[in-house]
């Protein structure tokens, strides 16, 4: 933008003109009026804020995305499914302390001899929040609807794909018949819905469950939804385990993470999750704020393209041919110093990783031992490559025995700060063993296309692992390869016979949790040895809450667990309000402050108009 000053413009006569001082005076008057209204704002608003005597039993939680749908049949976003956990219980959940299966609506369960029939017994005397009894019919109806109606299967259909039928034997007994035995019957994340409300709902593809209060079985019910702004849930007095102490929880949407942190500082929100290490450090030690550092559910990794192929063995893509060699893949793993990644990218808020399943789940956690271990050792990695015939060229970059120069591409999500921080370190470390890596920071869409077309060498990935790891293990079976080039379930083109056999074994080990855990550890050993999936870190989950609003919350697991994003409603159903604390800015305070703001606007506008009017009449008189 440039200013155009015509050279021929005559010098403004304004300066000498008699009107000038007057005009200047008038400007001054207006500025004064503006300043006065601002001052007024300053005087009124703090009073309003101080008057914000909010209800004691309200907790406000900052969330990073708006809900997509309040219908459990449709909702896919993490925020929506997390809220549903407060409102609808499933049959079996996870223990808050140990992550073991925990009775929810079902108090007990029993598989048949052949593992094809599961019988769940519901608790006695449970009621929906509208007072109707919760029966086995509700559960049977929920599963059956998901099996029969493809709209109802949108979000959770995967859990019932192997179901033959689900029926209520009596009021409290549900019987599920399977096509094949499966080990995940205690880890079904399926909210059971009230048939008497939902049966009449009509088209499930277009039903969003917005009749408030929503009828539910959990410790809270949904009582309000301002689209794109907030969801309000309130304590359910009919809850079988007693109503929670917080009467109300408001989930408020903030798209900007820094704004969330400011809202926490101010006390406008009570709980913030997903903090960056820098944010956590800045909140540490602040009065009235407690920072919670929890062991993470997520692993961060990159995968190596072992040669993309379909289930029929048709090869596609343009992965570097040398990466089909396991020795090279293992050398890559040994070149990377995971502690360095933890220190640099996470400021220490992470754990160096080896096994596929995070240490948060001790039952399944596996660490390599003895000779199986591929430790950080660039010298050994170099020696391995020398021996395997990878000769170093003049520029220090090796060539494969087939004569291909070891130059690799690495696709990095540009929207993940931790990957972006780790990628250059990996480029450096791989240069140490004679591999040249070009780091491509790209849009997740570009990355996803590169993965599905097999046109990559190294690519970042990461999964949030549930207490039952079946799914994240399943994506590395040969079945997860694509039927034809395009999209697929897996994320690594990994296919290994031994791994597949172990996967089938663990799936059938429904009656032997310890034996199943052993098999799962062996699967991780295979995955590690093949060095296709290089698990690098388990990042901590960083959260902070107002300790002057919330006295305590149940972490999961306990100790060292997280508060937000639990497998269950434990942190919220157990939360205790702080003595004399204020739970978020209630509407009363906001209203007073708001009135002040409006007064300021109106007064300011009126003053402006008056000044104008008066000057106009003065001109006319002249």
């Amino acid at each position: 933008m440039s200013t155009v000053i015509p050279p021929t413009a005559p010098a403004p006569g304004a300066d000498g003109a008699p009107g000038a001082p007057r005009a200047r005076r008038r400007t001054a008057t207006r500025l004064l009026a503006g300043a006065a209204s601002l001052g007024l704002a300053g005087a009124l608003l703090p009073a309003g804020a101080a008057a914000a005597e909010a209800e004691q039993d309200t907790m406000t939680v900052a969330i990073s995305q708006p809900v997509d749908s309040l219908s459990p049949f449709l909702a896919q976003r993490l925020i929506s499914t997390s809220i549903h956990k407060m409102v609808y219980e499933g049959l079996v959940g996870y223990d808050p302390e140990t992550n073991e299966p925990h009775p929810m609506l079902a108090e007990s369960w029993e598989p048949s001899e052949d593992g094809l029939t599961w019988t769940y017994t519901l608790r006695e005397g449970m009621k929906w929040s509208d007072g109707e009894p919760i029966t086995a019919d509700d559960a049977a109806w929920t599963f059956t609807t998901m099996m029969e109606d493809s709209d109802a299967a949108t979000a959770n259909g995967n859990y019932v794909e192997n179901f033959e039928k689900a029926e209520a034997v009596d009021e409290r007994t549900l019987e599920v018949t399977l096509k094949e035995p499966q080990a995940t019957m205690l880890s079904m994340d399926v909210p059971i819905l009230p048939e008497h409300v939902w049966a009449e709902a009509g088209d499930y593809g277009d039903f969003h469950n917005e009749e408030f209060p929503v009828v539910g079985s959990g410790p809270f019910t949904i009582t309000g939804h301002e689209p794109n702004q907030s969801v309000t849930i309130e304590a359910n007095p009919e809850y079988y385990d007693g109503a929670p102490e917080f009467e109300k929880v408001v989930f408020r949407y903030f798209s900007d993470q820094d704004a969330q942190v400011e809202a926490l500082r101010k006390g406008e929100v009570s709980l913030v999750s997903g903090l960056t290490p820098a944010q956590a450090d800045s909140l540490e030690g602040q009065e009235g704020i407690t920072v919670n550092k929890a062991s993470g559910k997520r692993f961060q990794a990159f995968t190596v393209n072992p040669g993309a192929e379909t289930q029929d063995g048709e090869e596609f893509g343009d992965g570097h041919p040398a990466l089909e060699d396991k020795t090279l893949r293992q050398a890559i793993m040994m070149a990377i110093d995971k502690q360095e990644l933890v220190d640099t990218a996470y400021g220490g808020y992470a754990e160096p990783a080896e096994g596929y399943i995070p240490s948060r789940y001790p039952d399944y956690y596996w660490e390599p031992e003895g000779d199986d271990r591929l430790p950080f050792d660039p010298d050994a990695a170099n020696a391995m490559l020398d021996e395997a015939g990878y000769e170093e060229g003049e520029d220090g970059v090796r060539e494969s025995p087939d004569g291909d120069r070891l130059e690799l591409r690495m696709h990095t999500h540009n929207d993940r700060p931790d990957y972006v921080a780790m990628a250059p370190i990996i480029v450096e470390r791989l240069a140490d063993i004679g591999i040249e890596v070009e780091n491509k920071e790209v849009d997740p869409g570009v990355l996803s296309d590169a993965l599905h077309s097999g046109e990559y060498d190294l690519i970042w990935t990461g999964w949030s692992v549930n207490p039952d790891p079946d799914y994240v293990l399943g994506i590395h079976t040969c079945d997860a390869l694509p039927e034809e080039p395009g999209t697929m379930r897996g994320d690594a083109y990994f296919c290994n016979e031994e791994y597949d056999e172990l996967y089938a074994e663990q799936l059938a080990a429904y009656d032997d949790p310890e034996g199943r855990a052993e098999i799962i550890k062996r699967m991780q050993a295979v995955l590690y040895d093949e060095a296709v999936v290089d698990v690098l870190t388990y990042a901590d989950t960083l959260e902070a809450y107002r300790s002057d609003q919330i006295a305590s919350m149940q972490p999961q697991p306990d100790p060292g667990g997280n508060l937000w994003g639990q497998d269950g409603h434990w942190s919220f159903s157990s939360a205790v309000p702080a003595e004399g604390g204020s739970g978020g800015t209630g509407p009363s305070g906001g209203v007073i402050a708001g009135i002040a703001a409006a007064v300021v606007l109106v007064v300011g506008g009126a003053v402006f108009l008056l000044v104008r009017r008066r000057s106009a009449t003065a001109d006319d008189r002249e």
């Binding site: 933008m1 440039s2 200013t3 155009v4 000053i5 015509p6 021929t8 413009a9 005559p10 403004p12 304004a14 003109a17 009107g19 704002a41 608003l45 703090p46 804020a49 101080a50 995305q65 708006p66 997509d68 449709l74 896919q76 493809s150 949108t154 995967n158 794909e161 593809g205 277009d206 969003h208 309000g224 301002e226 689209p227 794109n228 702004q229 309000t232 408020r252 903030f254 798209s255 704004a259 400011e262 809202a263 101010k266 406008e268 849009d443 997740p444 869409g445 570009v446 996803s448 296309d449 999964w463 379930r489 800015t585 509407p587 906001g590 209203v591 708001g594 009135i595 703001a597 409006a598």
Partner: protein, 349 residues
């Protein structure tokens, strides 16, 4: 102001009787031409919108289910539901047929008609961006006129440099700064305004809600005004400067008019034209919202909806929004073209 000019510029009386017909014809031709141009542009935008977002990398179904434990069957079902299993030309024909019926389709992510989502969000966007645009325009006009009238003075230099400085500030950064200073409060300064959102959860009653919304609007509107008012200021300043060399101003002064009147009655009305165009253009953009400001302040508008839709990409949603955004600019341009003859007699001849 418009009235005076129109009457002043009316053709001389003699041929009053035969006059209107050719003039009406001219007006009709002018109108027809503009309408046709607008319709053609709109059609082009519709077609572009379809292909533009198909070029975007990424598979909507893969993005939507990322990190979720879905089966291949579920993903296939979603693809069928969205019509993504159809050949491209088929999808395009369906899209055109829908658009001609004013059916914007169903959002992938929200499983709701796009029209419903837009209806929900358009109010907040127009409220925020509209208020911001009007205040910025008014402020820019006043300050720009003053700066030009006293060109080269300290006041001019300060006001122009402050405006340009703010113009170069990234809006999200300024927004965050205001949040830190005025929302969360620092030191002795208490937090005066909400950190984000449009209404405090639980607010009821029309008056309370209006007041609460006004309170939430202060910071985002202030951010927007601060960043954009410079363009009005600079344009107004340069067009007033252009007028300052004109003979009619010398005449006005020769009549003995006070300097202030010369400015208000003669220079400003003539200098307003370019600014009016700019205001209309920006009013068209009001519907697109101010994405960054909406994001920082969690304002539930169309801009943030577009942004979240792009990440998937939620094709029906972003296609429809693109058409709406572009359509609003086209229509506002059309309006500007139609209003112009009323403001400027020269266009009419």
């Amino acid at each position: 102001m418009t009235d005076t000019q129109t009457s002043g510029a009316a053709p001389p009386a003699p041929d009053a009787a035969p006059g209107p017909r050719p003039r009406a014809g001219r007006v009709l031709r002018y109108l027809g031409g503009r309408l046709l141009t607008a319709a053609v542009s709109l059609a082009a935008v519709m077609v572009t919108s379809f292909f533009l977002f198909r070029i975007l990398p990424g598979d909507p179904v893969a993005a939507m289910t990322e990190g979720r434990e879905v089966s291949v069957e579920q993903m296939e079902a979603l693809r069928r539901e969205f019509g993504l299993d159809q050949p491209l030309w088929q999808q395009f024909l369906d899209y055109c047929a829908r658009m001609l019926r004013f059916d914007l389709g169903v959002s992938y992510e929200f499983h709701r008609p796009v029209a419903e989502l837009v209806a929900e969000r358009i109010g907040p966007t127009v409220l925020l961006a509209g208020t911001g645009t009007l205040i910025a325009a008014a402020l820019g006009l006043v300050l720009g006129t003053r700066a030009a009238w006293r060109r080269g003075s300290a006041g001019d230099r300060i006001s122009s440099s402050v405006a340009l400085l703010l113009w170069s500030v990234p809006s999200f950064w300024l927004g965050l700064l205001l949040i830190v200073l005025l929302a969360s409060g620092t030191g002795w300064l208490p937090g005066l305004f909400p950190t984000g959102g449009m209404v405090s959860p639980g607010t009821t009653g029309a008056l309370d809600t209006a007041v609460d919304v006004a309170h939430h609007m202060v910071l985002p509107v202030a951010t927007m005004v601060a960043v954009v008012y410079a363009q009005y200021l600079m344009i107004m300043r340069s067009s007033v400067l252009d007028e300052m060399g004109a003979d009619y101003l010398t005449t006005a002064r020769a009549k003995g008019l006070r300097d202030d009147l010369v400015l208000r009655r003669h220079a400003v009305p003539n200098a307003l034209l370019p600014t009016v165009t700019l205001i209309f253009l920006n009013l068209g953009r009001v519907f697109g919202g101010v994405i960054l400001i909406e994001t920082v302040f969690a304002w539930p508008g169309l801009g943030s909806l577009f942004y979240s839709g792009l990440k998937v990409p939620d094709l029906p949603l972003v296609q429809a929004l693109f058409v709406i955004f572009a359509g609003a600019v086209i229509i506002m341009n059309l309006l500007a073209d139609l209003v112009y003859p009323l403001l400027d007699p020269r266009v009419r001849t």
